[in-house]
Symmetry: C2
Subunit: 573 residues, 2 copies
């Protein structure tokens, strides 16, 4: 006889519902078919449902396929069957079929696809790095000394396959926290009330700080995963929490997921390796041999996290190499106020390097074969747009906005004067000329109109730039017909920054705000001018126009050719 389900000893339980017509209750029985052949199975069913010997019945799957001898062999644990009088009989009772609907592993592996690519034609890779820097900023926020975030592009083939490593000297993670890192969409908010109780004891929002530079930029429980799988296809998280002895390591990889699916193993099961700091004996793959030296550094640090991404996409490698100055500058823009402090990179300030020094070191190195490593600290970059705005401005107008109960925004408007023969409103030196060919395509106009029609404000959320959202203007700082005595061109000499707290929603990839402009333009929003840190009880529109007028009078130096007297030839030279 053919014993179908005998290959292993794990029970194979199928659920059978009695749906024969005379039946009024959905009685269901669980039968373990492990070790049974077809006729033994039928006998068991006959017995369990006490079908009489003259009665005919049929067993079917829930899509009405009769369970004959062949189909019987294909039954799996958890399958639901219907016991019927005939195969086309209507269901006398309704039945409950238990199902599992685990998200496919592409949930993790492709999570970043849309969000990063959606911005057609824009180089969004720096913003994937930003997600990893966000996490490192959060993790180092309670550091006593320097907060070090070290991005290393290991592109030296003699040391293994290309890898991107992001290292920080932050709090590190316990093995439970490392486990939670891998849980998609588990955020600090959902963590508290969940089964993951031994991890965090509930999220406490940080107290308000100037410019909302609170380092609290872990939000949705997706950023790190989106980022690493956008950068490459395998990630090794290596971490050690402060004060504890052991290093915890977790490997997530697309290949592993595929293998597990093929072998019908549980997709979301894995393991954390707990080990001694400095022990790299588990690294046996030649492709990762650079890890031995990285791991040997562990013994020098009490707490740290290293994100090691391998299987880096070739086009990313090309871009990271070729456009090093571009993407590092973009990161300097995103973290400008974290790196330079609340006043930003004011290179003319006498207080420079004293008051305004922050303890955040974000460092990027590109390591290539036979080349001197290229290294930059974001603090050294002085071509990012915020640095240009700050250093070309001569005066600032500060304000606050409150939206609802606890939506806070700080704002600065800066004045870039006209000097002698030109506007000083800075142009982006690396701006890509717009492709959309106008008729004037042969005639490049540089900075003729100050800001021109560009939006005034760049927007920062919890202190970091949200790169794809700008705010054009507010009613009180826009150029109206009735703007009075101030020339229209002065309105094109201002740039601005907004700093919001996290009561304003951003998209999960932190590329855009949801509805910042809409909220700020609501009638309920209260704007207040701030002078030397003091809020002023004054009409902001009037104040602003007065300030702008003053700026114009004080700073704009226009050469006026007031009359033409004919051409003179200097004979004295």
């Amino acid at each position: 006889t053919d014993v179908a389900h005998a290959s292993n000893k794990i029970p194979i339980k199928v659920v059978i519902f009695d749906c024969r017509l005379d039946n009024e209750d959905a009685t269901d029985k669980v039968i373990d078919i492990q070790g049974l052949d077809y006729s033994a199975f039928l006998k068991t069913v006959t017995k369990e449902f006490s079908t009489s010997s003259e009665e005919t019945f049929v067993l079917s799957t829930t899509d009405r396929k009769e369970v004959n001898e062949d189909r019987f062999k294909e039954l799996k644990d958890g399958n639901t069957l219907h016991l019927l009088q005939s195969i086309d009989q209507a269901l006398s009772v309704s039945t409950k079929e238990h199902i599992l609907f685990l998200p496919h592993y592409d949930t993790l592996v492709k999570s970043g696809m849309y969000e990063y690519y959606a911005s057609e034609g824009q180089k969004s890779l720096p913003y994937a790095f930003a997600e990893l820097i966000d996490n490192a900023l959060s993790a180092t926020s309670n550091n006593v000394g320097v907060r070090t975030i070290d991005i290393r592009l290991m592109f030296d083939e003699t040391q293994g396959r290309p890898a991107v490593v992001v290292l920080d000297n932050g709090s590190g993670m316990t093995s439970k926290q490392l486990n939670n890192w891998a849980v998609y969409r588990l955020s600090k908010f959902t963590r508290e009330s969940s089964e993951f109780e031994s991890d965090h004891t509930g999220y406490v929002r940080p107290a308000p700080v100037p410019r909302s530079l609170n380092s609290d930029i872990s939000y949705f429980g997706v950023g790190g995963k989106q980022a690493v799988f956008y950068i490459g296809h395998t990630t090794r998280m290596i971490t050690k929490p402060a004060g504890l002895m052991d290093v915890h390591e977790l490997l997530l990889s697309k290949d592993e997921f595929e293998k597990k699916e093929k072998n019908k193993e549980d997709i979301y099961k894995g393991f954390i390796l707990n080990r001694k700091p400095g022990d790299s004996s588990h690294i046996t793959n030649e492709d990762e041999r650079f890890l031995h030296s990285l791991i040997s550094e562990e013994v020098r640090h009490d707490h740290f996290t290293a994100v090691v991404v391998t299987g880096v996409q070739p086009e990313h490698i090309a871009f990271l190499r070729a456009d090093f100055h571009l993407w590092t500058r973009e990161l300097a823009h995103v973290y400008h106020y974290y790196v330079h402090g609340i006043h930003g990179n004011d290179m003319r300030s006498s207080k420079r390097n004293v008051d305004h020094m922050t303890n955040i070191d974000i460092q990027i190195s590109l390591l290539e074969k036979l080349k001197i490593p290229r290294t930059v600290n974001l603090r050294e970059i002085d071509k990012d747009m915020q640095t240009l705005y700050i250093n070309s401005s001569v005066d600032a107008f500060e304000f606050k906005a409150q939206v609802g109960e606890d939506g806070y925004v700080e704002g600065i408007i800066r004045y870039h004067p006209f000097l002698y023969d030109r506007e000083t409103y800075p142009e982006d030196p690396y701006a890509i000329p717009t492709l959309s060919g106008e008729d004037e395509e042969d005639c490049v106009i540089i900075n003729q109109e100050g800001r021109g029609k560009k939006p005034i404000f760049e927007c920062f959320w919890n202190g970091r730039l949200i790169p794809y959202t700008t705010v054009a203007e507010f009613d009180w700082c826009a150029c109206h017909k009735k703007s009075g005595p101030v020339p229209a061109e002065c309105f094109r000499r201002i740039s601005g920054v907004l700093f919001t707290n996290d009561k304003f929603q951003v998209s999960t990839n932190k590329l855009t705000f949801m509805d910042l402009e809409l909220q700020l333009k609501s009638k309920e929003t209260i704007f207040t001018r701030v002078v030397n840190g003091q809020e002023q009880r004054v009409k902001i529109h009037k104040e602003f126009i007065q300030w702008l007028k003053d700026c114009h009078g004080k700073w704009d130096k226009q050469i006026m050719f007031s009359g033409f007297n004919g051409i003179m030839t200097r004979t004295d030279v």
Copy 2:
């Protein structure tokens, strides 16, 4: 004695690794602590690891917390412990701690958040409906007769709480397919090679059809879930596959997920109800009483799917009510060519309603208390932009583009002539005036310049509009200095449409293309003019300029005020 783990009989297995210093292999043992108290547990450990009686040892969690009597009681099935000589001893061997990292249920519930909101200020709700229409188009693609897609807004409070119902007479789903519907990120591509073998037997790409109207618009395995959880918080999928007897029903709800999490039940376990068509005895909730009549309709249809969304967000209800004409028009735009056929809604055509009739009925009804139901068939809408473009144009230039091996694009450029005193290039009658206040804010300029600086092309993917991507122009149809004899304003009298097949990537919410413009502008792209369905071997730039010149000569009717002869007063009236 205190028997800690006796409350149930399910085994509680903990894994203990022997990490004592003299140890060189990571021996691990699994111990079932079910029913054991602390001292019995210690005894078992002593025995299993044959620790000698004079030896001291300590058991710790992997975050180095000693397992004392209290902690012992908190141990859970699957926990990993270390057997150490002392609590601060370094790990002699590395240990493998098994973990589970199931995605949080917000993966489903909040999947749509970013994608829909990201488009700040835009009303993106119609595009959530579009995801459900996409699914219905796919499902009805093999229908023999009429393909009916019925969207019903059940806003009559006397019938229950507000609900959105999308009904189609498509293929329906077997219970296995319904199960797969709920699996996030399981797409038709990943389905084939996966454990879900009994479902599809592998995806076959449809053969090319004109305008890529292939109804094959299910792609990522996320659309339906994103859409329903963006619209409301609970969804009941009700479906019946053709030829089979039973209806299958699956309920997914945010509340259920929360409850399961609270009770520490498996998040992704649920059940499908299998039942007789027309049987609504399981609907006991007053909020859903409208379902009784919906379910009673079932007996009239052999195959169908109904998506019933409840817990509809109040702001959605307000918008759907107030802006009915707006969002139905937007849907008419998205599905213009599905509804009207490959030539679109040409209201002047003599062949109208004969040749070009499609069998796709997309119908929307708004049902409110004490009001006559408002119903519209998308085919009746004639204010959508494609209808306006088609009917204001006098001539068309057709072309094809091929990108790589199998990227196909069809294109049409239409000419909207100048007639007597005005441009006929259509304005969007419902366009929201741009907020960004220019200086000219008091002066609204309507259609003075034809298309102006707007992009030429709207873009359709597999026949349906991708609403947030446009393509400005191509080199060969752009206005250059050397465009020769054609006046520049003629270039502003053209509108265009691109139809791509699915070889061009779109974002998971189908709001944007990834890099359509970039790909089309690559040097490898070959453009070919098409005349009467025949590809022409000619230089497209020359052809286009000639066509444009012809259009100008033939269609533009300009009134010229050629000379001023003084004012005349008519005395004869």
